[in-house]
Symmetry: C2
Subunit: 241 residues, 2 copies
């Protein structure tokens, strides 16, 4: 399993992913699920991935190959595409093609493969956009009404986002919100695990403002997690029914 | 969908269910999912149901028929069974048989039916027991380590239970915990809906201590829901990262 979340706010975008992958419960590994693509000052794209590792790795590799290819053009390279919408389409097409190929191979053993992605970014001359790409390549977009997107194990971490995130949320509060959302998920689903990758992209910066890998036992994250548990218990004590 | 939760505590048991059923998104109804069986002073049993309404209604009807039958005996009637374990087995067998029958009928149109139940109770001479009955009739039991059971849409409401419920939780706090757990679920899943049914069974009372139907717009529940949202937002503001 996986948990990835992205927030699209007036001040910028905040993205967080875990790194746990598992093939069964007895085969757990750590793989990065956050991939960043930049032309500083011109364009920034962050992709978060969930689902079958063979699908997501191959899709990302193909997107990179297309960028590096001598034939790279606005229809094939996410660093040359003329709009973020086109970036979403390129990623969606790459994901759908890879998924269908691997699904076909697995059909031989009555298995299937699926994956989904969050694609967030901004190019000079355009606004910030954030898409959730489905396994078939179609996608939806974050809006003012619903300024966050989640993939993977999304349920445990949704109540806190529903309550505190609006388009006007500051980037500092947004970091806190995604980390607390992840904290609830980590507690309830063993197949979501540390370390975490956090990225903040400020509006109109066209670059990754900050990235941070948060390792298991990170003192700051642990302190936040404990303080949040205590705050919840205190709030619970105060509530009257 | 459905959300039902039961807490097994040293002081007693607290049970809560929603009442929404749906056949598709465009056919929503209200049905009770909490069923109580009592011989006051001797035995009390509460059953919560989730899943296909045709399966759960028929199962409950069969359990009632077995109680009312002139041939009622400790192997067929949950009000005569000699232990709560036997009650769990009778309910499990009735559920498994009903589910298998209805599943067979639906196979003709490539559909299936499934359902699960929580069975909680105490008989004079025995301890309080709480079981989660799976669609196949097997079951697991709440313990000191995990003093709560959930069926239906369990994920949204689990983080609060994980944080505040222990076997030593008071019945008053337990009521609050299940209502807040339900509140998070109602907010996130439209197929879980008001009104709610709440029951409290005190240890060694062998009767339903209190039941309450909480209607949509109930002022006490609404106030609690708003206070909890505010408390969460306040806690969020105070947390440092």
């Amino acid at each position: 399993m996986t948990y990835c979340v992205g927030l699209l706010l007036r001040q910028g975008m905040v993205l967080l992913s875990d790194t746990r992958t598992n093939a069964g419960l007895d085969n757990i590994s750590t793989y990065r699920k956050m991939f960043t693509f930049e032309q500083p000052g011109e364009r920034v794209i962050v992709i978060l991935t969930a689902g079958s590792l063979s699908v997501t790795q191959t899709t990302i590799a193909r997107l990179r190959d297309a960028i590096d290819s001598p034939d790279a053009n606005p229809d094939t390279s996410i660093l040359k595409a003329e709009t973020m919408l086109k970036v979403g389409e390129i990623v969606g097409n790459a994901l759908a093609r890879t998924r269908a190929e691997i699904d076909g191979k697995l059909a031989a053993s009555q298995q299937g493969a699926t994956a989904s992605m969050i694609v967030a970014g901004q190019r000079r001359g355009g606004g910030m956009r954030m898409f959730l790409i489905y396994p078939e390549g179609n996608f939806i977009e974050a809006t003012e009404d619903t300024p966050f997107l989640q993939i993977g194990e999304h349920k445990y971490g949704k109540p806190i986002l529903d309550r505190v995130v609006t388009p006007d949320t500051s980037l500092e509060d947004a970091r806190k919100a995604v980390l607390l959302s992840m904290d609830s998920t980590l507690r309830s689903n063993l197949s979501v695990g540390m370390p975490l990758d956090l990225a903040v992209v400020e509006k109109d910066s066209f670059t990754i403002g900050s990235t941070r890998r948060i390792e298991a036992g990170d003192p700051q994250f642990s302190a936040m997690s404990q303080a949040w548990s205590q705050a919840l218990r205190d709030a619970f004590t105060q509530i009257q029914i």
